[in-house]
């Protein structure tokens, strides 16, 4: 028998194997050589994970380090309604409702929503979220997030501001210092197994996040709280629309409190009224009225036009530039001292003094005191107020301005004017940020703005003495007196333009103002107050002055300012002859 020929079989076999090897080799070249990068990427994607490391937003504190705004971790609870069996929904609602603080009906409402995603609760505390996770309910998920906390709620909310839902600053310091507070996100890249555990032999690439810095404000939270409370109480008590106050430190111009009534709750944006400015003490300007007389008198003292005992013959009314201006109370022509004109707040007397000064000089002092200019405070939306440029004055403008009508300012600017008087004539533009602390711990203190010398220290002291007379019995501001202390200040009652009467000044709608310095003989702080349209057109001495007394009394105790024990000197308000001594109250002479 003949065996098959080996040779051709070998050859065919050899060819078959060669072909096979060629195919394999070709595929090898294709996979390793040509398509190699896409496979490598796919493998990388499967086993390598990159997560964003969110920078935590910085804290905002008050001047003593008490946190006014900080970020804490939170969890959102979401559901996939399609993954929950209909029969299970009721039991889910029963289990979840007590943990979420919602009614079972409300929970059912969310579970009944169509689609694959519904939010059950936003920003729950992680402890509660863990309890929900422990229930291990199918279709209920937790999502890590953060929540901005405002423990003070309404306290200083106008200054601190608030954040948008995405965590960026929306108003106030949160907005202005958003970059500092936000920091910079980082990332971390590592290899994972199919369960998500980090593979220990893999390389971890970490780009560390830079957390936000801490912004320390000059605000004293306790003082701010008390001021807000007093303002809130004063509004319904006086039937006013609103009330505002600003408190500055004398020597540094730092803002100790900046408050208004009706402040929103920073942790609840629903409390923001879109029709009202969010920070009235800085945004809302008003006509100051007689508090502004301090500038007229400062200028007159500095220029040597008057001395505290200069005699001014004051009629009941005066015609200037075609306008007829009268005093707020009828009196025959009387001889007042300059101090008396200020203490009893005579418009006519003030105009007589202003006329001696001249409009040019008067205007220059207004500008030195910062009227009509922004202070540059680190808050958004600051109003500059309004000082009419001299080129636009009509003949009667100068019959208005010296006693504070026809110009406007914010309560912060008003406080700044009195800060200059308190600080021996040097005005320091107010600031509200004390320092910024970087995450590394480096503290950068805000530099104090350069002082603007408005009047000499002697003039400032003389003016303060005159302003003390306002607070003494016989002055319009006697309700601002704080027993045991020397107080200097001035009342104001500015008429508001009445929109219903074509903008003419109203006879019953006023801005009641008061600005005061405490203690007068060793000034530590100044308080400026404005009450908007109290009922019955009451005067500043009746509404704003008592508010000053409450606020100053609190701050004097809070800041441990002891009385010096010296007493205010009584200065005659009028020229006193035999007749005056008999007919006038004892306080006058």
């Amino acid at each position: 028998m003949r065996l098959g020929s080996l040779h051709p079989r070998l050859r065919y076999g050899f060819v078959a194997v060669c072909t096979l090897l060629l195919v394999i080799g070709g595929r090898l070249v294709q996979l390793q050589g040509l398509d190699h990068s896409s496979y490598a990427d796919a493998a990388q994607a499967q086993r390598v994970d990159t997560i964003a490391l969110h920078a935590s937003r910085g804290t905002i504190t008050d001047r003593f380090g008490t946190p006014l705004a900080y970020t804490s971790d939170a969890q959102d609870i979401t559901v996939n309604p399609q993954q929950i069996a209909v029969v299970q929904k009721a039991s889910y609602a029963a289990q979840l409702a007590p943990l979420l603080g919602m009614t079972p009906t409300a929970v059912m409402g969310v579970l009944a929503k169509p689609g694959q995603y519904a939010v059950l609760a936003n920003a729950l505390s992680p402890v509660v979220a863990q309890k929900i996770e422990a229930l291990q309910l199918e279709g209920v998920y937790t999502q890590a997030t953060t929540q901005r906390q405002y423990p003070g709620r309404t306290v200083a909310a106008n200054v601190v501001g608030t954040v948008h839902s995405d965590g960026t600053g929306a108003a106030g310091v949160e907005y202005v210092f958003n970059k500092t507070l936000a920091g910079k996100d980082g990332s971390e890249t590592y290899a994972v197994d199919n369960l998500g555990n980090v593979s220990p032999s893999s390389r971890t690439v970490r780009d560390a996040p830079q957390n936000g810095g801490t912004v320390a404000l000059t605000i004293d939270q306790n003082l701010q709280f008390v001021v807000q409370q007093y303002l809130e109480a004063a509004v319904p008590q006086s039937g006013a629309r609103s009330a505002e106050a600003a408190i500055l430190d004398t020597r540094t111009g730092q803002v100790l409190a900046l408050a208004s009534s009706g402040t929103f709750d920073a942790s609840d944006p629903n409390t923001i009224d879109p029709n009202v400015p969010i920070d009235p003490p800085v945004m809302a300007a008003f006509e100051p009225g007689s508090v502004q007389k301090a500038i007229t008198f400062a200028a007159a003292l500095q220029e040597g036009t008057i001395k505290p005992d200069t005699v001014v013959s004051v009629p009941n009314s005066i015609t200037m530039g075609g306008a007829n201006v009268s005093d707020a109370w009828w009196h025959p022509t009387e001889k007042f001292t300059a101090t008396g004109v200020l203490a009893e707040s005579s418009n006519v007397g003030t105009l007589e003094i202003a006329q001696k000064l001249g409009p040019q000089v008067w205007d220059s002092y207004e500008q030195k005191f910062g009227v009509g200019q922004q202070t540059g405070i680190e808050l958004p939306g600051e109003s500059s107020g309004f000082l009419p440029p001299m080129s636009t004055w009509s003949p009667s403008t100068f019959a208005n301005l010296p006693f504070g009508q026809g110009e406007s300012m914010t309560v912060l600017q008003l406080a700044s004017i009195y800060q200059a008087i308190a600080n021996d004539g040097v005005r320091i533009p107010p600031r509200i940020v004390k320092s910024i602390t970087a995450p590394s711990g480096t503290v950068t203190a805000t530099s104090q703005p350069a002082g603007i010398t408005v009047v000499t220290p002697q003039t400032a002291r003389t003016l303060r003495t005159m302003l003390e007379s306002v607070i003494m019995p016989g002055g319009t501001g006697k309700k601002a007196a704080v027993p045991g202390y020397r107080i200097a200040g001035k009342t104001g009652t500015a008429q508001q333009p009445d929109p219903a009467h074509g903008g003419a000044y109203s006879s019953y709608m006023n801005w009641d103002t008061f600005a005061g310095i405490a203690p007068a003989d060793d000034p530590q702080f100044v308080v400026a107050i404005m009450v908007d349209n109290p009922a019955h057109g009451v005067e500043g001495g009746d509404v704003a002055a008592p508010l000053f007394k409450k606020i100053a009394a609190y701050e004097l105790q809070h800041a441990h300012i002891a009385p010096t024990g010296s007493l205010s000197t009584h200065v005659p308000l009028q020229v006193c002859d035999a007749v005056t001594r008999v007919s006038s109250p004892s306080t006058v002479c």
């Binding site: 992680p126 709620r153 109370w329 008429q495 000044y505």
Partner: protein
């Protein structure tokens, strides 16, 4: 005569079996060591994972407590707590000034604290959302940032505004002509 072919003695080999055993032992030992290392690092990773979970647990509790402390230390909460205890804000005290010669002077007038505590402010509720409103649900309207900066008007009549923000002073209003109020 024939040359003697040298007789090659077969060289003596080292014993093969121990060498083979050594090699196998090294291989097995190496693999065991590798296995042990891998197991240990994997176990460490699982341990780390558990500890991380525990750490997250404790951090969450810590955060919750910090939030509670901050909330109760806020002046509003302290004020309410004080009011509940029946405390009232202290008024302005009188002072006794002791002079260098020992004489005592009374500054101010002592008076008992008033009975009414300060009202506790609740935040104004301007708009009520129909669904439970979470803290971060709505964006703050940006118009609110800038406030109402009164623009100076040069016309003699102020524009009438529907809402009452403080109005701009007009340049030539009729000032206190014969109006009784005037300003003080």
């Amino acid at each position: 005569m024939m040359a003697r072919r040298p007789v090659r003695h077969r060289p003596k080999h080292a014993p093969r079996v121990p060498f083979a055993l050594l090699v196998v032992g090294l291989i097995v030992g190496g693999m065991c060591a590798l296995l042990a290392l891998n197991t240990a690092s994997a176990a460490n990773e699982l341990n780390r994972h558990d500890l991380a979970l525990k750490d997250a647990d404790i951090s969450a509790q810590l955060q919750q407590l910090q939030n509670e402390v901050a909330a109760s230390a806020a002046p509003g909460a302290l004020g309410s707590a004080a009011a509940e205890l029946g405390m009232v804000p202290a008024g302005n005290p009188a002072f006794l000034q002791v002079g260098a010669d020992g004489t005592v002077r009374l500054l101010g007038s002592p008076a008992p604290a008033t009975a009414q505590p300060l009202p506790v402010i609740a935040a104004p509720k301007v708009s009520k959302a129909s669904t439970p409103s979470p803290a971060k649900s709505s964006n703050v309207p940006t118009s609110v940032l800038t406030g109402h900066t009164p623009k100076p008007t040069t016309s003699s009549t102020a524009k009438s505004k529907p809402t009452p923000p403080p109005a701009t002073p007009t340049t030539t209003p009729t000032p206190t002509t014969t109006l009784p109020g005037g300003t003080r």
